[in-house]
Symmetry: C2
Subunit: 176 residues, 2 copies
Amino acid sequence: MKLLAISGSLRKESLNTSLLNAAKSVAGDKVTWDTAAIDDIPLYNQDIDGEQKPASVDRLKKQIEAADALVIATPEYNYSIPGGLKNAIDWASRPAYKSVLAHKKTLILSASMSPMGGVRAQGQLKQILAGTLTPVFPAPEFAVATAQNKFTNGELTDTDTQQKLQRLVNDFLAWV
Amino acid sequence: MKLLAISGSLRKESLNTSLLNAAKSVAGDKVTWDTAAIDDIPLYNQDIDGEQKPASVDRLKKQIEAADALVIATPEYNYSIPGGLKNAIDWASRPAYKSVLAHKKTLILSASMSPMGGVRAQGQLKQILAGTLTPVFPAPEFAVATAQNKFTNGELTDTDTQQKLQRLVNDFLAWV
């Protein structure tokens, strides 16, 4: 099975990128992973959208198309997902009649320094993915709160969170 | 009174930019307008955010600070606002302790070719602006549906929509 990891955060030492790495670890050998880069995708503008897409958009669309399923980890900015992640989703969803996001099974994760763990961003992301016809794995929201205390040098070191992530990823793979 | 117009669409012949222009027309002489550009704002990345902001972010923040109120017109992409608009809001909201968006009164408009007129995007934007502590003018959602039939060469030509916009803008100015 081939999964595509998409981090909503662009910073180098991102907790969400670290959370994706933890998901990769617990998924084990039966899964191969690809990683999306969304930092070089231009802001969506219909005037530059046509048969010919920017190269960074083509790359993302091909990665999504080639994946059996997606795993998105998102921070929460102002009760929602980052503009950069929304921008990548908007590009990937076009044109709608052959959107690579349609019917692509997806797992949502979030990590945040706040005690809410990013659940509001997950709520908005679910609505957005309803718009793109992307089925989201139905599970209680996996939101790593006060995440700065659960990672050490980019490694998930909180054993309770590790065990829950292991179960969630197993359940997701079985669902896919 | 000084208002800042922010269009969520980057395309040149945007219906939302046209809707902002119509709002400017009906507002009359008692108001001066500034217009925000959000197309040259880089994707938010905490690694490049600090005391020194990108020049395009500084410009936007100064425009918001100098305005008595904001008027945002947004298209709807995948049941939400465009990534570019969210990106501009995220930058403008930082640092949170001196956010220029906090307590800045705002009017939300939308125009869309769909029969829903962008109301789902307005719903998500209100939640985002709750996150930025930005008071949104409490009014029934002003959503121009099937907008391609209500504008001619960038001018709002639907008289019913014009009259409603006139009333809304008057009420908003009185509230500000």
